[in-house]
């Protein structure tokens, strides 16, 4: 017997070692359920003639009805209506772009900056993060901005350290004048606050051109890679990408502060210096590309986690620095206890932390 209950196309679910979760991607809600109900959801998804009989064997009938009611009340599922057929959505992911985003780290050496920008443009990288680690003076900063404005990117964010040489009006002016620079983040600020760049246009609807984020924290290379509930993604496109790819590294190409081409600037392995190697060659390198395919199902601990489809990843800072399939170091969640804890005070992580210079 078919029960005609259909899961919403906007809902995904996932089992974990201790519990399951239903994810409403559009309304941004998580519903925790027992894993036995994950089996029920799988049967709903299959929607075969034997589904209902199988469900009754797994969960007592009154509880099953209560679960159906819960799904329908929260509009996670609905009873099919109409002459057509509701179709379970395909979760495959494919986009026409090879490169999704890039990072350039700059400390005191700017010599490779222009070369890097032109390499990014050549491989049609549209989104870029520029991290400026040292105190720049105003002329240096303006020069970096003038140069990037000669290129065509779709989105650029600049991370920099607060200093007295670059006045705030200058930061604002960059967002006003450089079309693709929409977010500037200033580390080492007095307060944490986000300021939208909005011009007062009187009787018109006000639009934000971008944001300046002031952050108390300092900008450190090994400060990257923190994973929490706040880095979960709700975008269906990202979730589909996560299911088959590494959520952080897929489509990423980076240049570290010495001009070395890497998957991510925090990683040790480099694929040559930008002075002599092209992005095209690196993108054709199997070792470089291989990391893009490490999805959460391949990562220890993460593969048992109920959050694995919506969580981001980090391959630079690992619980076991010698094992590329090890869990991200800076994640405080333990799927075996279903509890979040502060990762940085976990004694088991001390050894790895010292390898990365975090203690």
């Amino acid at each position: 017997m078919k029960n005609n209950l259909h899961l919403s196309s906007e809902v995904i679910f996932n089992s974990g070692i201790t519990r399951g979760v239903i994810i409403d991607t559009i309304r941004r809600e998580l519903f925790y359920i027992d894993n036995s109900f994950i089996r029920i959801l799988e049967l709903i998804e299959k929607d075969s003639n034997e589904s209902f009989e199988k469900m009754v064997k797994l969960v007592p009938l009154p509880e099953l009805h209560k679960f159906f009611d819960f799904l329908v009340e929260n509009e996670l599922a609905f009873y099919s209506k109409g002459p057509g057929e509701f179709k379970r959505i395909d979760t495959s992911w494919e986009i026409p772009l090879e490169v999704i985003n890039g990072i350039i780290d700059i400390d005191t050496d700017f010599s490779f900056y222009e070369k890097a920008l032109s390499e990014f443009e050549k491989v049609d990288c549209r989104e870029l993060q520029i991290r400026l680690f040292s105190d720049l003076d105003l002329t240096e900063f303006q020069k970096l901005v003038t140069i990037i404005n000669q290129y065509e990117f779709h989105y650029v964010e600049i991370h920099l350290v607060k200093n007295s040489y670059i006045p705030e009006e200058e930061i604002r002016r960059v967002i006003e004048n450089v079309w693709f620079v929409t977010n500037i983040l200033i580390y080492g600020s007095e307060d944490n606050k986000i300021v939208r760049v909005i011009n007062d246009t009187g009787d018109y609807f006000q639009i934000s051109l971008g944001t300046i984020s002031y952050l108390k924290q300092s900008l450190k290379q090994n400060g990257c890679g923190s994973i929490s509930q706040h880095t979960f993604t709700w975008s269906k496109d990202n979730i589909r990408e996560n299911i088959s790819h590494n959520s952080c590294l897929n489509g990423k190409i980076s240049v570290d502060r010495s001009g070395y081409i890497k998957n991510c600037p925090s990683m040790a392995k480099n694929f040559g210096n930008i002075a002599s190697v092209s992005f095209r060659d690196v993108l054709n390198n199997n070792e470089f590309r291989g990391l893009w395919l490490i999805n959460k199902d391949k990562i220890n601990i993460c593969k048992f986690c109920e959050y694995r489809k919506i969580c981001t990843d980090c391959r630079a800072y690992l619980d076991n620095p010698d094992d590329i399939y090890s869990k991200p170091l800076k994640c405080g969640y333990d799927p075996f206890t279903a509890r979040w804890e502060d990762w940085s005070t976990n004694p088991l992580k001390l050894k790895a932390m010292s390898v990365y210079g975090l203690v």
Partner: protein
Amino acid sequence: MEKLTLEEKKLDELGMLPINHSRIYSNLVTDINEENKLIRYSSKYNTDLLRSGKPRKIISKTINYSLFDEE
């Protein structure tokens, strides 16, 4: 986009207008000069592009994302 506001007219007040003009929704538009700052013609792609305030996905995780929860 800004919330739509409804302007309702009694059918009597419509004058010569058709009935479907009895309920007209409106919202404030943006200043064209500001709006133009969001749009750029790209000769590379031969299209107008809209400025994006967010990346397709998080590019790195150097910041404490709990600050951005409201976004």
